[in-house]
C-alpha cells in the first residue's frame, strides 16, 4: 500500500446501515398476506360485521344532508314571499337530524373499531412474541435486535392502523363515491360530464407526482438517517473527540451530512408540497365548470338553484375520496410491507420439537461425553471435526484459545443451542438428542460474558432462576458472590430497580449479580464463559475461590483466558479457528510442545 495522503478527517460516504443483515425478505404473495390479515379480522367477526354495517349506515345518512339542503333551498324560492315554510322546516329538520345521526353513528363506529383493533394488536403481538421465544438461538445471533423490536412495536401498529382505518375508509369512500354519483345523476345527469375532464386529470396528475416524489422522499429519509446515525455516533465518541481535540473536524463532517440532509429535504418538499394546492386546483376547476354549465342550464330552466347547490356539494364529496385514493394506496402499500414483516417473523422456523419419546433428564450426576462430533455453523464450512471428550462428574474442563477462536461453540453444542452434524453428545450416558431441551438446559447453570440483567429489582434478578428461593438463600448467594455488601449500600438495598436512571451499577458489579444468580441454582453442571473478564483481579480471585467450593462435585466448563486458573483443570480443550486442536492436562500439553505450549510461553515473555 502506498503512503498517499488519505482522507484524514473525511467521513466515508457509504451507508453501512444497508449492509447489515436484515430480516429475511423473500417476497410473500399479496393474496396470502390478505388472507392472513383476514383471519385476524375473522376472530372478531361480530365486531367487524358491526363496523361494516355502521360504516355503510353512517356514511349513507351523512350523504343525504346536501340533497336535503338543496330541497330546502328550492322550497325557499327565488324571491320574497315564495317560501314554503312547512317544507323548509321539514327539510332543514331532517337535514339536522341526518347529520346528528350520522355523527353519532360515526362515534359508535370509532369505539367499535378501537375495540376490534385492540384485540387484533394484542393478538398479533402475542403471536409474534410466542414465536419469538420459541426461536432457536441462532436466529438472534443472525438478526439485529433493533429490527425485531421494530417489527413487534411499529409494524404491528402500522398494520392495525391500516386494518382499522384504511379498510373502513375504503369502504366509506366506496359508499361516498357511489351515493354521490347516484345523487348527482338523479339531480342532473348531464352535469356529471364535468367529471370526464377532472377525473382523468386527477389520475394522471397523481401518477406523475407519486412517480416523481417517491424516490425523492426515499432519498430524504435515507439522508436524514445517515445524519442521525452520524450524530448518534459522535455523541457516543465524545471522549475520544475531546481527548484528541478533534471537535472542529467532527463538526466539519457533521456540516457535510447536515447539508446533504437539508438539500434532500428541500428537494423532496419542492415536489411534495405541490400535491395539496394542485388537488385544490382540480377541485376548483370542477367547481367552475359546474357553476358555468349549471348557470346555463338554469337559464334554460332545466335545473333549480337548490339542485345546483346540492350538485356542487356532492361533486366535492365525490372527488374527495378520489383525491385521497393515492394516499390511501400509499398507506396500504406500507401496511402490506409491515404485515409481511410481521408474518415473516411469525413464520420463522422454531426450534424443532423435542422428539416424541424424549425423556426428562433427572438426577443428573454430570457425566458428559462427546464422541466424534462434527459441527458447522454454515453448511459446508465445518468448524468442529471429529471431536471426542469425556468429563467425569465434578471435573473441571477448561476451554482455552486465542481471541475469536470460537470458544463459545462448545457451549452452544452442550446446551443444544445449536445441533451437531454428526457424532453424539451424552449426559449420564443418555444421548442429549433423546432428552427434552428444558431438562437438558436446566441441568446447567451458567454465567455468560455479557451479564444479562432485566429491568426489575436486584432481588428478582438474582432469584430469577429459582423463584421459590427464600430471602435467606438469595442473600446467601449474593454473599457468596461477594456482592451482598454492595447491594446493601444501594438506595433501596435488594429492592433497588436495576435499569432506573441514577442507579449506578458497574459492569463488574452486574456480573457479580449474575454470578449470584448462577450460585442460587442447584444444577449439577456449570458453564463459565469468560465469566470474570470484567472483574478486577482481586474480586475475581475471591469469586473463583467461591466458585470452586460451589463446583465441588459438579462438572464445570470454563472458558477463560487466564492460564493460571485453567492449569488446575482436569482437561484443557485448546481451541483454534473453532476446532479443538489439542486436549489434555496442562503438563501433558506442555510436554507436547504444541500450540498450547506456545500460548503458555507467551504469558511469561516480558517487555
Amino acid at each position: 500500500m502506498s503512503n498517499q495522503m488519505i482522507r484524514g478527517g473525511r467521513w466515508s460516504r457509504n451507508d453501512m446501515r444497508e449492509a447489515k443483515r436484515a430480516l429475511p425478505t423473500a417476497r410473500m404473495p399479496r393474496r396470502q398476506i390478505i388472507q392472513r390479515l383476514w383471519r385476524y379480522l375473522g376472530r372478531n367477526r361480530a365486531l367487524m360485521v358491526l363496523a361494516i354495517f355502521l360504516t355503510l349506515l353512517s356514511s349513507s345518512i351523512g350523504l343525504v344532508g346536501p340533497r336535503l339542503s338543496g330541497l330546502a333551498i328550492d322550497a325557499i324560492g327565488l324571491t320574497e314571499g315564495q317560501a314554503d315554510f312547512p317544507k323548509v322546516f321539514l327539510y332543514v329538520g331532517l337535514m339536522a337530524l341526518s347529520y346528528v345521526v350520522a355523527a353519532s353513528l360515526g362515534y359508535i363506529l370509532s369505539r367499535v373499531t378501537l375495540r376490534m383493533t385492540r384485540n387484533i394488536i394484542y393478538r398479533m403481538r402475542k403471536d409474534v412474541f410466542d414465536k419469538l421465544v420459541s426461536l432457536p438461538v441462532n436466529f438472534f445471533d443472525k438478526y439485529q435486535a433493533g429490527e425485531i423490536i421494530s417489527v413487534v412495536s411499529y409494524d404491528v401498529d402500522t398494520v392495525n392502523e391500516s386494518l382499522s382505518t384504511d379498510f373502513l375508509q375504503i369502504l366509506q369512500s366506496l359508499v361516498t363515491v357511489t351515493v354521490s354519483f347516484v345523487m348527482m345523476m338523479s339531480i342532473k345527469p348531464i352535469l356529471t360530464l364535468v367529471f370526464l375532464v377532472t377525473i382523468p386529470l386527477t389520475a394522471l396528475y397523481t401518477r406523475w407526482i407519486t412517480g416523481r416524489t417517491r424516490p425523492l422522499f426515499r432519498k430524504r429519509s435515507q439522508k436524514l438517517g445517515e445524519l442521525n446515525g452520524y450524530m448518534e455516533e459522535m455523541m457516543g465518541s465524545k471522549r475520544p473527540t475531546r481527548a484528541y481535540g478533534r471537535e472542529k473536524q467532527v463538526i466539519e463532517g457533521f456540516d457535510e451530512k447536515n447539508e446533504e440532509a437539508v438539500v434532500a429535504y428541500t428537494t423532496a418538499e419542492y415536489y411534495g408540497t405541490m400535491i395539496g394546492p394542485s388537488v385544490g386546483f382540480i377541485n376548483n376547476i370542477s367547481l367552475t365548470l359546474i357553476s358555468v354549465f349549471g348557470a346555463l342550464l338554469f337559464l334554460r330552466g332545466q335545473v333549480g338553484l337548490g339542485s345546483i347547490s346540492s350538485f356542487v356539494q356532492y361533486s366535492r364529496r365525490f372527488s374527495g375520496p378520489i383525491n385521497e385514493l393515492a394516499s390511501i394506496f400509499g398507506e396500504l402499500q406500507s401496511a402490506f410491507a409491515a404485515a409481511e414483516r410481521v408474518f415473516r417473523l411469525i413464520d420463522a422456523e422454531p426450534e424443532a420439537q423435542d422428539a416424541p419419546d424424549a425423556t426428562v433428564l433427572m438426577d443428573v450426576s454430570g457425566d458428559v461425553r462427546a464422541e466424534h462430533v462434527d459441527f458447522s455453523y454454515i453448511e459446508g464450512v465445518p468448524v468442529i471435526r471429529d471431536f471426542s471428550m469425556h468429563a467425569k462428574p465434578g471435573a473441571l474442563i477448561a476451554i482455552a484459545g486465542p481471541t475469536g477462536a470460537g470458544k463459545t461453540t462448545l457451549v452452544n453444542l452442550l446446551m443444544r443451542f445449536y445441533d451437531i452434524d454428526a457424532g453424539s453428545i451424552k449426559v449420564d450416558g443418555q444421548d442429549i438428542y433423546g432428552l427434552t431441551r428444558s431438562s437438558l438446559r436446566g441441568a446447567y447453570t451458567m454465567v455468560l460474558q455479557d451479564s444479562w440483567l432485566f429491568y426489575g429489582s436486584v432481588y428478582d434478578n438474582i432469584a430469577y432462576a429459582c423463584e421459590d428461593a427464600t430471602p435467606e438463600r438469595v442473600e446467601g448467594a449474593a454473599r457468596a458472590a461477594m456482592i451482598h455488601s454492595f447491594i446493601k449500600k444501594l438506595p433501596q438495598g435488594y429492592d433497588t430497580i436495576i435499569g432506573d436512571d441514577g442507579v449506578n451499577i458497574s459492569k463488574g458489579q452486574k456480573q457479580l449479580i449474575t454470578i449470584a444468580r448462577a450460585m442460587l441454582s442447584d444444577a449439577r453442571m456449570l458453564i463459565l464463559d469468560e465469566a470474570t473478564s470484567n472483574v478486577d483481579t482481586q474480586t475475581e480471585q475471591r469469586i473463583q475461590q467461591a466458585m470452586r467450593q460451589l463446583m465441588a462435585g459438579r462438572t464445570a466448563f470454563v472458558i477463560a483466558h487466564r492460564l493460571s486458573t485453567i492449569k488446575s483443570a482436569d482437561t484443557i480443550l485448546v481451541v483454534r479457528d473453532g476446532n479443538i486442536v489439542e486436549q489434555g492436562k496442562h503438563e501433558d500439553l506442555m510436554a507436547q510442545q504444541g500450540y498450547y505450549a506456545s500460548l503458555y510461553h507467551a504469558q511469561f515473555e516480558s517487555y
Binding site: I6, A83, A103, L132, L135, S278, V535, Q541
Partner: protein, 586 residues
C-alpha cells in the same frame, strides 16, 4: 422559544414575502365561492350566457393564480425552514461537542441524541407547516367570516356562534388525550424493554426454562399497551363527531334563517349556496388551526429542549499560571476528585513520570483507575491538587495544545460506521504509512489483512462486524497512530490473549520508547515491566513503586501477582486460610 425564534431573523424578509404570497393565495381561494354566488344571484337573472362564461373564466383564473402562488409559497416555506433547521442543528451539535464531560453527563447521551434528531426534526416540521397553514388557516377563517358577512351578516353571526363551541371541544379533547398519549409512550417503552431483554438474554432464558414466565411478562405489558391505546383513541374519537354536529347544526340554523331572509326579500338564494361553500372552508380552517396548536405545542417543547442546551455556558475555561521548571513530563500533585461532589472518587493522588517512562495502574473495579486518566485528559477538572504536564498546570494549557500527540483508548469506546482507516485516523490528518505502522504495533495487521479491502474495510456502527479482540486492537491502533508523546491504555488488552498482549507490549517497548505511557490493566503481566506501578483502592494509592518494590512492600499486590503468575494453585493448598483471613477487597 426566543432563542430559536432569533434563528428566523436573517430570513425575516424572505419570511414576510412567503407569508404575503400565502396571504394572496388564500384570498384567491376565498374569491372562488364568492364568484359562484355572483353568477347565480346577479349574472343569471341578466340572462346573458356571455357574462356567465366571462365570470366562469374569472373563476378559473382565480383557481390558476391560487395554485401557482400556493406552490410558490410552499417552496419558499420549505427553503426557509430547512435553512433555519440547518443552522440550529449546527449550533446545537457544536455546543454539545464542546460541552465538558461533566456537563454532558448531566445532559446524558440518549437525551443529547434525541435533542439532535427528534427535536430538530420537530422544529423543522413546525416551521414549515406554520408558514403554510399558520397564515392560510386564520385567513381562510377570518376571510371566510368576512366574505359571509358581506353576503349576509346575520347568517354569519349564527355561524360565528359555533366557532367558540368547537374551540372548547378541541380544548377539552386535547387536554384529556395528551396525558393518555404520554402514558401510551411510557408503556410502549416498557414493551420495547421487555423485547430487548428477551432478545439479548435468549440463552439465559432458554437455559433456565423461563419462556412461559417471559410470555406472561410480555403479555401483561402488551395487554396494557393495547388498553391504553384504546383509551386514548376513544377520547380523540370524540372530537370529530362533536365538531361535525356543532357545525352542521349551525349550518341548519343558517339555512332556516336564510329562508326567512329570502322570503322577506332581505337576501337571495345564491348567497345561501355560496354560504354553504364558505361553511366548508371555515370548518377546514378550524381543523387546520387545531392542528397548528397541536403542532406548536410539540414544536415549543422541542424548542425549549434545544434552548436548554444552547444556553449552557462553556465550562473548563483556561486559567493563567506560570510554567515551572520540571524534570517530569507528567506529574500529579495531591489530586482529589469527586464526580458528584459528595464522595471522593480519587483522594490525594501523587505520582511523577519522566518523558518515555511507563506507569502501570492496577486496582479493583471502581477504585478510580479510569477517573485518574479522565483527569489527565482534562475531561473533568480535579477539585483539589494540580496536574502538571512539563511543569505547566493543565488548566492553563489551551485545549488544542493539550490534545496534540495524545493517544488513548477508553473502556467501552465507540467504533464508528466507517472504514478501518477512518476509524484509526479518527479525524486526524494521518498518512497511510502512519496508520499502517500503528496497526502493525497494535497487532491489528493480521486481521486487517484478512478483511476485504484491508484498510478500506467498512466497519459497522459500534464495530458490530468485528470481534471483541479486533475492536480492542483497532482502538489501540487509533491510540498509537500519530506517534503520541503521551499514551493512555485503559484496560485495552482485556480481550486479547496472552500471546497478542505480549507482542503488543514488545512492540510498544521497541517502537515507542519516547512515549510516556499510562497503562491500566488487570493482569500483573501487562504492567510488571513498567517503571512505576500505582495500586489503587477506593480512590487511594495503597502502593506506588516498581514491581520489585511492590512485591516487597505491598502485600495485596504481591498476592495478586503470585496468583496470576501461576503459583497460586499450590499456594491455595498450603495457605488456603490465609486468603480468607484477608478478604477485604469485595
Amino acid at each position: 422559544m426566543k432563542k430559536v425564534m432569533s434563528y428566523l431573523m436573517p430570513y425575516r424578509l424572505l419570511l414576510s414575502w412567503t407569508l404575503f404570497v400565502k396571504f394572496i393565495a388564500s384570498i384567491l381561494d376565498l374569491f372562488i365561492p364568492f364568484i359562484l354566488a355572483i353568477i347565480l344571484d346577479d349574472i343569471v337573472p341578466q340572462k346573458e350566457p356571455r357574462l356567465v362564461y366571462l365570470w366562469g373564466g374569472l373563476m378559473a383564473l382565480c383557481a390558476a393564480a391560487s395554485v401557482v402562488s400556493n406552490i410558490y409559497a410552499n417552496r419558499l416555506a420549505a427553503t426557509t425552514s430547512s435553512r433555519v433547521t440547518r443552522s440550529l442543528r449546527h449550533d446545537l451539535f457544536s455546543r454539545l461537542i464542546y460541552l465538558s464531560m461533566a456537563q454532558f453527563d448531566q445532559v446524558s447521551l440518549s437525551s443529547a441524541v434525541s435533542r439532535l434528531t427528534t427535536d430538530t426534526y420537530n422544529i423543522n416540521i413546525f416551521l414549515n407547516r406554520t408558514q403554510r397553514m399558520g397564515v392560510r388557516a386564520p385567513i381562510l377563517l377570518v376571510g371566510g367570516l368576512v366574505m359571509t358577512s358581506i353576503l349576509d351578516v346575520r347568517m354569519m353571526l349564527v355561524l360565528l356562534l359555533t366557532v367558540p363551541l368547537i374551540g372548547l371541544i378541541v380544548y377539552f379533547v386535547t387536554k384529556k388525550s395528551v396525558p393518555l398519549y404520554d402514558k401510551q409512550q411510557t408503556v410502549l417503552d416498557k414493551l420495547v424493554r421487555v423485547l430487548q431483554e428477551n432478545i439479548v438474554g435468549v440463552r439465559v432464558i432458554k437455559a433456565l426454562s423461563k419462556t412461559d414466565y417471559e410470555k406472561d411478562r410480555f403479555d401483561q405489558v402488551s395487554g396494557k399497551l393495547a388498553d391504553v391505546s384504546r383509551q386514548a383513541g376513544s377520547v380523540v374519537a370524540l372530537s370529530n363527531p362533536l365538531s361535525s354536529i356543532t357545525l352542521n347544526l349551525g349550518l341548519s340554523l343558517c339555512v332556516l334563517l336564510g329562508a326567512y331572509l329570502v322570503n322577506s326579500g332581505l337576501s337571495r338564494p345564491g348567497s345561501i349556496i355560496a354560504f354553504m361553500h364558505y361553511f366548508t372552508i371555515i370548518s377546514h380552517a378550524m381543523f387546520g388551526i387545531t392542528r397548528i396548536f397541536i403542532m406548536s405545542s410539540k414544536g415549543i417543547a422541542s424548542a425549549r429542549r434545544i434552548e436548554a442546551i444552547l444556553e449552557m455556558e462553556e465550562e473548563q475555561g483556561q486559567i493563567s499560571a506560570q510554567p515551572e521548571d520540571s524534570p517530569y513530563h507528567v506529574a500529579f500533585d495531591k489530586v482529589s476528585f469527586s464526580y458528584n461532589g459528595v464522595e471522593d472518587n480519587l483522594r490525594d493522588i501523587s505520582f511523577t513520570l519522566k518523558q518515555g517512562e511507563t506507569l502501570g495502574i492496577i486496582g479493583a473495579t471502581g477504585s478510580g483507575k479510569t477517573t485518574l486518566t479522565n483527569l489527565l485528559l482534562r475531561l473533568y477538572d480535579a477539585q483539589k491538587g494540580r496536574i502538571l504536564i512539563n511543569g505547566q498546570d493543565i488548566r492553563a494549557i489551551p485545549r488544542d495544545t493539550l490534545a496534540v500527540r495524545v493517544g488513548v483508548t477508553f473502556q467501552s469506546d465507540f467504533i464508528m460506521a466507517a472504514t478501518i482507516r477512518d476509524n484509526i485516523a479518527f479525524f486526524r490528518d494521518l498518512t497511510d504509512e502512519e496508520i499502517l505502522q500503528a496497526a502493525e504495533a497494535a497487532q491489528a495487521m493480521e486481521f486487517i489483512n484478512e478483511k476485504e479491502g484491508g484498510l478500506d474495510f467498512e466497519v459497522e456502527s459500534r464495530g458490530n462486524n468485528l470481534s471483541g479482540g479486533q475492536k480492542q486492537r483497532l482502538l489501540i491502533a487509533r491510540a498509537l497512530a500519530g506517534k503520541p508523546s503521551l499514551l493512555i491504555l485503559d484496560d485495552a488488552s482485556s480481550a486479547l490473549d496472552y500471546r497478542t498482549d505480549a507482542s503488543l507490549r514488545k512492540a510498544l517497548a521497541e517502537g515507542f520508547h519516547d512515549t510516556t505511557s499510562i497503562i491500566i490493566a488487570q493482569r500483573v503481566s501487562s504492567i510488571k515491566g513498567a517503571h512505576k506501578i500505582l495500586m489503587l483502592e477506593d480512590g487511594q494509592a495503597i502502593g506506588y513503586g516498581s514491581h520489585e518494590d511492590l512485591m516487597r512492600t505491598c502485600p495485596p499486590y504481591r498476592e495478586i501477582a503470585l496468583t496470576q503468575m501461576g503459583a497460586m494453585g499450590e499456594m491455595l493448598e498450603d495457605e488456603g486460610l490465609a486468603l480468607e483471613g484477608s478478604a477485604v477487597y469485595e
